[in-house]
Amino acid sequence: MDFVFGGCVQQIQQAYPSRCMELRWVSSRRKRIIDKEKRVLLPKKPLIPPALVPIYISTTPSHINPEELKDLYSASNHSCHRFPSYVDSEGTVRVEPVDIHKLNVALSHSSVLVSVFCKPTDVLCATETWSSSSSSSSSSSLEDLIKPRKTLGLGDLFQKVLPVTPSNGQLVGFGRAVSDFGLTASIYDIMVIPSLRGMGIGRIIVKRIVRMLANSDVYDISAVCSENERLFFKACGFGDDILCSTTMIYSRNASTSHQGNQIVTRAGRKLLVAPPHREAP
């Protein structure tokens, strides 16, 4: 029985990606705010002191709590369906909550699962900073952003010293990939909670997935993403397909084909219709 305090544990398994659990630090020093209208990367205001947030990256599936993951999907406003969203009362585009049973099935059949944990206190700080900076961008004074130091008790100090682990941490980032362990793989569902975005966590997740796939000799990795995720993947080193293939997605729906005895399945907003059954002559 071994105890490991932090650090990275490498295991050699037969031709399969090794499971690593790591502690890392991400900094908001290089945090960029993307101005959506201008599509320009603005440097973060120097007033806000950079936060160093310790995170725990895990590739062990058992560290993932399905309920927490479902909440992460909702918090990140991420949908598993390609045609996902509806517009809620406030005018924001929202996605339907993910079905937990389907999520469990998907998780059990994903080849690579990466989860990132962070201490709840750090998440709270980040959320406050993020919501204050996003709501009052013009007149945020230094005093508002740097909270007055409160006296820390021994318990608080101890909590600060403890490394973040999946058990005492909150799930803040996730990514998964499906592979055939031979030729190809597809990355799905990369997400980080909004308050901790821009710090490189998503990039760490993608790099870890790519590394694990490369360990099992898969180099052809695809990631189907929407327009606003495209920039992210480009920054991670993904580009247009080397062979200039066109991505296509199935979208035949009930409105366009009228045939009896058809299978109709729901995929987010759309109702997809299956091709007719072929009978032998």
Binding site: H81, L162, L183, D241, T247, Y250, L272
Partner: protein, 257 residues
């Protein structure tokens, strides 16, 4: 196998456990990794768990004998609906010399890797390592094949079985699927066989409520897939390929059509 749950999380002892979970076959079965008993005796160490995972607690509630040993049968408690293999005759043709040629569709996925390699050569695709082909076939969600069986007139048991088409799909069994490697022998092209292959795959996937079906089409075949109900790049979705050619030992090109 003993499963010991360590002290509750508020304990001041920061223990980071690590797993020696070995893979069973090549699949990662998420709930099984929580159950040490499933590891088929290949595990060498005990692991300390920092907390009883949510799933673990649910599982131990289900299985009555849950004191220290959690044994799980190889079949998962949750439904594992693999596509039911079906096989049927797609077309039947009688040749002038009396021989009958049947084209059999099969979704059982029993493909001889050497046959497949030969078929890829016929179509003009670059060669890929056989071991990788075999692994890819084994781990695909569904492999649909077309075989041609020629029965010569008069003689029994001298059927010629030939692989003439294949299509495969990978999936996470719940939300997404991607169709790869659709190919049909050039001498059998133009008869709607490729269309049949893809349609069967789509049908099987939709039957299991897998709604996101994607594929990466070469420019010559975009129209072929459009006729089947695929839309190119809807809503700004782009497939991006990983740009790290320096990692390739031998550059593996994947052609789609």
């Amino acid at each position: 196998m003993l499963t010991r749950n360590a002290a509750p999380p508020s304990s001041p002892c920061p223990l980071v456990s690590f797993d020696f979970h070995c893979q069973m076959s090549d699949r990662l079965l998420f709930p099984h990794n929580l159950n040490y008993g499933l590891d088929r005796g290949r595990r060498k160490h005990e692991s300390l768990r920092l907390r009883a995972g949510f799933w673990e607690s649910i599982k131990s509630g289900f299985l009555k004998n849950n004191t220290t040993q959690v044994i799980e049968t190889p079949s998962a408690p949750q439904e594992e609906e693999e596509p039911l293999p079906q096989e049927f005759v797609l077309t039947e043709k009688t040749e002038p010399n009396g021989a009958v040629e049947q084209i059999i569709f099969s979704s059982g996925g029993d493909v001889d890797v050497y046959d497949l390699q030969a078929l890829c050569d016929k179509v003009g695709w670059p060669r890929r390592p056989l071991s990788k082909l075999a692994a890819a076939l084994k781990n695909s969600y569904m492999v649909a094949t077309l075989h041609s069986i020629k029965k010569s007139p008069g003689s029994e048991g001298s059927d010629q079985k030939k692989l003439i088409g294949m299509a495969r799909a990978t999936s996470d069994h719940a939300f997404n699927a991607t169709i790869w490697d659709v190919l049909v022998d050039p001498s059998y092209q133009g008869q709607g066989l490729g269309k049949a292959l893809v349609e069967m795959l789509i049908r099987a996937l939709l039957q299991r409520d897998i709604g996101n079906i994607t594929l990466f089409a070469d420019s010559q075949v975009v129209e072929f897939y459009q006729n089947l109900g695929f839309e190119p790049d809807p809503e700004g979705i782009k497939g991006v390929g990983n740009l790290e050619p320096q990692h390739h030992a031998n550059p593996i090109m994947l052609l789609f059509w």
